[in-house]
């Protein structure tokens, strides 16, 4: 006796998205070589920045902070989230190369779940990344000036931004031809970070980085996360950071869904 085919339409979207997100998470956990760059490189970078450039706090124009680590934590989180986005893109590209993507497309699963599942997984991993760096910072003497609300603000902005970067990674994977192409994007992560005020105050950046950083959404996101950690819960920077993260995420998800449609049309 044949099983009744499932009802078509959006009713299965939720469970499918969750199932694909779970698969993405399990795969990531089973490949430490994927997760290591997310955490280890930014941690090493953070350590060297703090250890090597702590004296720059004495520069005129540098804001008053308890410690250079407090100032740098947001940059480390942001760097980690960006690498997470590239990693999500590489995973999708490998799915495409390996044929799993075709398997999903050929199934009755709603196709937008292919993007949304990966994006949801990116958000979950982002939460873990933010928590990791906050705990690390606390362990090494930093503190979150904004208290519990401050932690919540950092988490919220971080998760939204991480979700957005994941969607960007998916977008790049859908447009690129191979996983190695997506991997080639890796250096750009550092470029866009360097031309922001993630690591250093806007006033102290050299030209032309200072001009670009003024408009770079990453500057707003970094500032939004840094405010509650290094300073206090001032709503404007936090809201600006959140708005930048939301806008980035919305645009990225929209573009990746369009890219998915384009890819399926061309198949």
């Amino acid at each position: 006796m044949r099983a009744t085919p499932p009802a078509a339409g959006g009713s299965r979207l939720g469970p499918t998205v969750v199932a694909l997100a779970r698969r993405a998470l399990v795969n990531a956990l089973r490949k430490p070589q994927f997760l290591a760059p997310l955490v280890i490189f930014p941690t090493l970078f953070l350590a060297i920045n703090v250890g090597g450039l702590g004296a720059t706090r004495t520069l005129e124009g540098f804001p008053q902070v308890d410690g250079f680590l407090d100032y740098q934590l947001a940059a480390a989180i942001l760097q980690s989230l960006l690498i997470g986005g590239v990693t999500a893109g590489i995973a999708v590209a490998l799915d495409i190369e390996g044929g799993f993507f075709d398997r999903l497309v050929a199934s009755p699963a709603p196709r937008i779940a292919i993007v949304l599942g990966r994006v949801l997984a990116a958000g979950v991993i982002a939460a873990a990344q933010v928590v990791y760096f906050l705990v690390l910072g606390l362990a090494f003497g930093a503190s979150v000036k904004g208290g519990a609300i401050g932690v919540l603000c950092v988490l919220t902005i971080g998760i939204v931004a991480g979700t957005g970067f994941g969607a960007l990674g998916v977008l790049i994977a859908l447009r690129a031809r191979s996983a190695s192409t997506v991997q080639g994007i890796f250096p750009l992560v550092f470029v866009v970070l360097f031309i922001s005020s993630a690591f250093f105050p806007l006033e102290l950046l050299s030209a032309p980085a200072d001009v670009i950083a003024t408009y770079n959404p990453l500057s707003f996101i970094a500032t939004g996360m840094r405010q509650p950690i290094a300073f206090s819960n001032q709503w404007l920077p936090v809201l600006e950071g959140l708005a930048a993260a939301v806008a980035l995420t919305a645009v990225s998800i929209g573009l990746s869904l369009l890219a998915l449609r384009g890819r399926l049309r061309d198949a």
Binding site: P32, Q33, A36, I40
Partner: protein, 305 residues
């Protein structure tokens, strides 16, 4: 193995063929026992062994960025061949395997058959005494396979000893002077193809009589010529022969004299597959499970950081 022979090494997946080859060519240290190749102990004198063997492994591992000529010349250099002879020797071997026109192209553009041929040429660059071929025709089209078989026969005629592992019984039957069958790490049979087949059975004459024939009477009639297998279908006879083809005419005459009409007949010889089945309990062709012989498998690795 005897010098100058082609030795076929057969076994199901996971039996230990590739492990054996890797030990004999000094890529894997044996955990026990000893082996001598070209007169040298593989464990104690590996460098001497390597000078005298040529190896074409299961994967034709070639550098896709290099041309065929460059690869041959690199191999020659690594074997310490006199630089004045490298180019000439390379051209000779490239020509021998029919790759002259492709020699200047990068290996990344070669077909599977071309890669195998280049792999063989590289294995022969230093004129080895013993040549190891690990499943050399797997994945090749029939024409390329036959070309490679001709090359193996030519090498044998020139005096090279060839150790050949293969999944294809026909290949072993065609090429090997002697065959060894390995199962679960042990040699379970060894001999010439003919002697191995003779060990497990006799030729059979399968007959199909005209419809309506009295099968019982026919069976009684031919009983004196040899043992019969139970009929699997009506009007079918299957008789074991002592000698083979020479035994057919008397049987047909007897049936004809008794008024039986023979619609079809077939002489069936025992095959290596029958040998394999008798010695290992399974058939070689159609074995599906990837085992230690699959080139991708390696021992489990610790996860990298």
């Amino acid at each position: 193995m005897q010098a100058g022979e082609v030795y076929g090494f057969l076994g199901p997946n996971g039996a230990g063929k590739t492990t054996t080859v890797r030990m004999l060519v000094t890529l894997l240290r044996p955990t026990g026992g000893s082996a001598r190749v070209a007169g040298y102990d593989v464990a104690r004198e590996p460098s001497q062994v390597r000078r005298r063997i040529g190896v074409a492994l299961q994967e034709a591992a070639l550098d896709p960025l290099m041309t065929g000529s460059e690869l041959i010349e690199l191999q020659a250099t690594l074997h310490g061949i006199d630089p004045r002879s490298v180019r000439a020797r390379g051209e000779e071997l490239i020509g021998r395997v029919g790759l002259t026109d492709a020699a200047g192209r990068r290996v990344g553009t070669y077909s599977g058959g071309m890669r195998r041929r280049l792999d063989l040429a590289m294995a022969l660059i230093h004129d080895p005494e013993v040549l190891f071929l690990d499943e050399p025709t797997t994945g090749l089209d029939p024409t390329s396979r036959l070309t490679l078989w001709d090359e193996v026969r030519r090498l044998r005629d020139e005096g090279t000893t060839v150790f050949l592992t293969t999944q294809y019984l026909e290949e072993a039957d065609q090429l090997a002077d002697r065959i060894g069958i390995i199962a679960a790490g042990t040699i379970v049979a060894e001999g010439t193809p003919a002697s191995l087949k003779a060990e497990v059975g006799r030729p059979h004459l399968d007959l199909v009589l005209a419809p309506g024939s009295d099968l019982a009477l026919a069976r009684e009639l031919v009983a004196r010529f040899g043992a019969q297998r139970p009929p699997t279908e009506s009007c079918h006879l299957s008789i074991a022969l002592q000698r083979g083809a020479p035994d057919i005419a008397p049987i047909l005459r007897a049936l004809d004299d008794a008024g039986f009409a023979v619609a079809e007949l077939e002489l069936k010889q025992p095959t290596l597959d029958d040998v394999f089945l008798a010695k290992t309990g399974e058939r070689l062709e159609g074995a599906e499970e990837p085992g230690e012989d699959a080139p991708q498998q390696r021992e489990p690795l610790p996860e990298a950081v």
